[in-house]
């Protein structure tokens, strides 16, 4: 391994590391590593695929670009930023990993993440499960009616849709309306109890954004832009991302 590393580091000018440095604020401090190992010792992904954050950074510094941009470890690091938090030099390893992911041809990136991103960007709701705004509205409406009828004290429970000027724009992870709709009710009850002025929207209500994890910059930007638009259109003050 040492031999190979030395050979490749001869082509320093085109190093993957240099490209990443250019796009990060303060160059991500990627050259400042003291090899202290604090990152690796507290990283849950250490050991997976025989790698850890310190090794990955070494590979980058040594110009082992081929290994760096093909290792599946890029998808084992969750970009949780703990390494950066404990690093004495504040080195942005998660951003390095993000760019390692982005170096993969799109159609070779993990299918599950890619499908979730594509599905979300194919519907107005941006739901990674493909649940449209219409389906969401129906689910909410039916459930609300049921609760009003069956639960004492909640005859007036509200779950407003597209209410202009509401203070809170509440989003929801697709998993609830899709798989466990009853989990939405406690939240409605809480909002009801505190007298919150809130609304759902049939557009852009889905909380998740897998395009970010896919390291597809354009797609995740589009995803978030559509959601921000939905909030603006209703004139809401606070975008409330639920649990």
């Amino acid at each position: 391994m040492t031999e190979e590393a030395i050979k490749i580091s001869g082509k320093r000018t085109s190093r993957f590391l240099d490209k990443v440095k250019k796009i990060l604020p303060e160059e991500g401090n990627l050259d400042a590593c003291l090899t202290c190992g604090a990152c690796a010792s507290g990283c849950p992904a250490t050991g997976i695929d025989g790698l850890d954050p310190r090794k990955v950074l070494r590979m980058a510094v040594l110009g082992m670009d081929e290994e760096l941009t093909t290792t599946p470890w890029a998808w084992a690091c969750t970009m949780c930023t703990r390494c950066m938090y404990v690093c004495p030099m504040n080195i942005n390893i998660p951003q390095l990993v993000f760019n390692m992911r982005a170096a993969w041809p799109r159609d070779e990136r993990p299918k599950g993440i890619r499908a979730s991103c594509d599905k979300a960007n194919s519907v107005d709701s941006r739901s990674a499960m493909g649940l449209t705004g219409e389906m969401f509205s129906e689910t909410v409406e039916e459930l609300l009616e049921e609760v009003r009828e069956e639960q004492e004290g909640f005859e007036n429970l509200q779950a407003p849709m597209n209410k202009k000027g509401a203070y809170y724009f509440v989003n929801q992870n697709s998993r609830e309306p899709q798989m466990e709709e009853d989990e939405m009710v406690p939240l409605w009850k809480i909002l009801h109890t505190v007298g919150a002025d809130w609304t759902y929207s049939d557009k852009g209500w889905a909380a998740e954004n897998y395009c970010l994890f896919l390291a597809d910059n354009e797609a995740w930007e589009e995803n978030i832009r559509i959601k921000a638009q939905a909030v603006e259109e209703l004139g809401c003050k606070v975008w409330l991302n639920t649990e």
């Binding site: 849950p44 084992a76 690091c77 949780c80 993990p110 009853d182 109890t193 505190v194 998740e208 994890f213």
Partner: protein, 163 residues
């Protein structure tokens, strides 16, 4: 953390009385996305304030390490969708051990990824804890949690407060 604000303002009349005699123990997952990456320890402190109000100070057991220093559960970054199940569980072992060390009956998981991952770890490694959201516990403590809204509660609480 709007819940903390509403409790401080007296708008959300929660209480921990229900758990005085039961003494059920709770711990809390600090989602990376919310705490370390976005709002910092203040969000973590707010969640602890809420949780203690809900279950009683003595029934909250913190993980170690915690707050911004907490370990990622391993569900984040798309890991749950990446098809690398075995590696994901290897990653999550450290979280599982951390939860088990608290001895808690419930983990509050205020993030969907954390919820799915920590629940999967419990099944895979054979833990004896349950994963719930804050909203479940808030409604339970106020006595307004409906019968159908208890999918994630354990047998100890699934009928609690229903007549």
């Amino acid at each position: 953390m709007e819940y903390a604000k509403w409790i401080r303002e007296g708008k959300l009349p929660v209480s921990s009385d229900w758990n005085k005699d039961l003494g059920i123990k709770f711990t809390l997952q600090d989602p990376c996305q919310l705490v370390r990456k976005t709002y910092g320890d203040k969000a973590g402190e707010d969640m602890r304030y809420v949780l203690k109000k809900l279950v009683g100070e003595e029934n909250f057991i913190d993980m170690s390490p915690n707050l911004s220093n907490n370990y990622c559960c391993g569900g984040g970054g798309g890991f749950l969708q990446s098809g690398r199940k075995e590696e994901r569980r290897t990653y999550g072992k450290i979280k599982f051990d951390q939860v088990m060390a608290t001895g808690a009956d419930y983990v509050i998981t205020p993030c969907h990824n954390c919820h799915s991952q920590i629940h999967d770890l419990q099944e895979h490694y054979g833990g004896n804890y349950h994963c719930i959201h804050f909203w479940t516990l808030i409604c339970l403590s106020m006595g307004i949690l409906g019968e159908n809204e208890r999918g994630h509660l354990g047998p100890d609480l699934e009928d609690f407060g229903l007549d």
